[in-house]
Symmetry: C2
Subunit: 206 residues, 2 copies
């Protein structure tokens, strides 16, 4: 029991690393099993298909990221500070990825959206749920900032979408230029998208 559950984790870990490095289509089940160090028979014991593995990889990565986002976005800090920490955490996560594998691998969900969303409806639906959840979490923080009169946007849902779009777009550039410095302006761009008062004004409660 311990062994088989261990094999599933190994397959998931190898799949995530390989998908981040080379995308989904370029991978074969045999290669994933080799990287995981498990026999190919184990694969089909745990996963009905390569697509089922992709869905499980997405779920596993989202479970981890959702915990991190919730920790940051529902914390005790002031709302805009929480959003700022999310930008910083995004940069830190990409930097850690670059240090461990030599190249910025971007956002797993963004990568799979552009590679696969118009090919498999199951993956499209799962990725939609994840981005919907991200937008909802950010929307709640923007609504708090708005109640404190720190931002001027009126449609907080649309503003949350523009923040996630900016994040995905800048992460795309960080991957393209293999440079996490591309993520430096993310926070200032978010403030602009939210119609935030100048930080000094916010601090002074104007």
């Amino acid at each position: 029991m311990g062994r088989t559950s261990d094999a599933r984790e190994k397959i998931l870990g190898a799949a995530q690393s390989l998908i981040e490095l080379r995308g989904y289509s370029a991978l074969g089940v045999a290669e994933i099993c080799k990287a995981a160090g498990v026999p190919k028979g184990s694969f089909y014991y745990f996963f009905a298909s390569k697509e089922a593995l992709a869905l499980a990889t997405i779920d596993e990565h989202w479970a981890e990221q959702e915990r991190a986002w919730k920790h940051i976005l529902t914390g005790a800090a002031e709302p805009l500070q929480r959003l700022r920490r999310l930008c910083e955490a995004t940069e830190a996560a990409q930097r850690a990825g670059q240090q461990s594998c030599g190249t910025v691998s971007g956002c797993l969900f963004g990568n799979l959206t552009l590679e696969l969303s118009n090919q498999t409806e199951a993956i499209r639906a799962r990725l939609q749920e994840i981005f919907d959840a991200q937008v909802e979490m950010i929307d709640a923080v923007i609504a708090e900032a708005r109640a404190r009169d720190e931002v001027t946007v009126t449609d907080t849902r649309e503003a949350a979408r523009s923040v996630v779009a900016q994040l995905e777009g800048q992460v795309l550039f960080a991957k393209l230029y293999n440079s996490t410095r591309r993520l430096g302006p993310l926070w200032a761009n978010c403030l602009a998208l939210l119609g935030a008062r100048a930080p000094g004004e916010v601090a002074a409660g104007l």
Copy 2:
């Protein structure tokens, strides 16, 4: 001569459609030749490898898009109006793609960036040149708007990057949700990123 050059065009046309629908890694040379209606021998007469075809497809698509962008962005209209037309043209292009193939296929350059940029340096370099050129064209327009005191951003290069990032991020969502309506807020988001004066103020010359 006429025949062979026709075969090259057919291969490029088929490659672009197939890459937009299914990405690069999922495709084989045989499949591309079948879709193009040319014998496989023709492929290697024109292209040394599948990567060479990808580069040619990128160049062909950029030649066309660069012409369209230059036409819009260096036209006689006021600078912010030109940027607005670029947003509208982006939405129109995605809508036309959706009507012809049933699904929003996104930006070819963004798709290949997330699928391939950390795998092949030749493709990474080419895509960097293209996004650099896009940023430079938009930077020039923002600088014009700034000289007219219509926007408040000071770092026009960084602002241009944030606009292209927003565009790529929103196109990613248009693809994910298979809805070009996702591109509706693009223009308002660009105005926010540029720190544009309210449209009424700009119109009134305030």
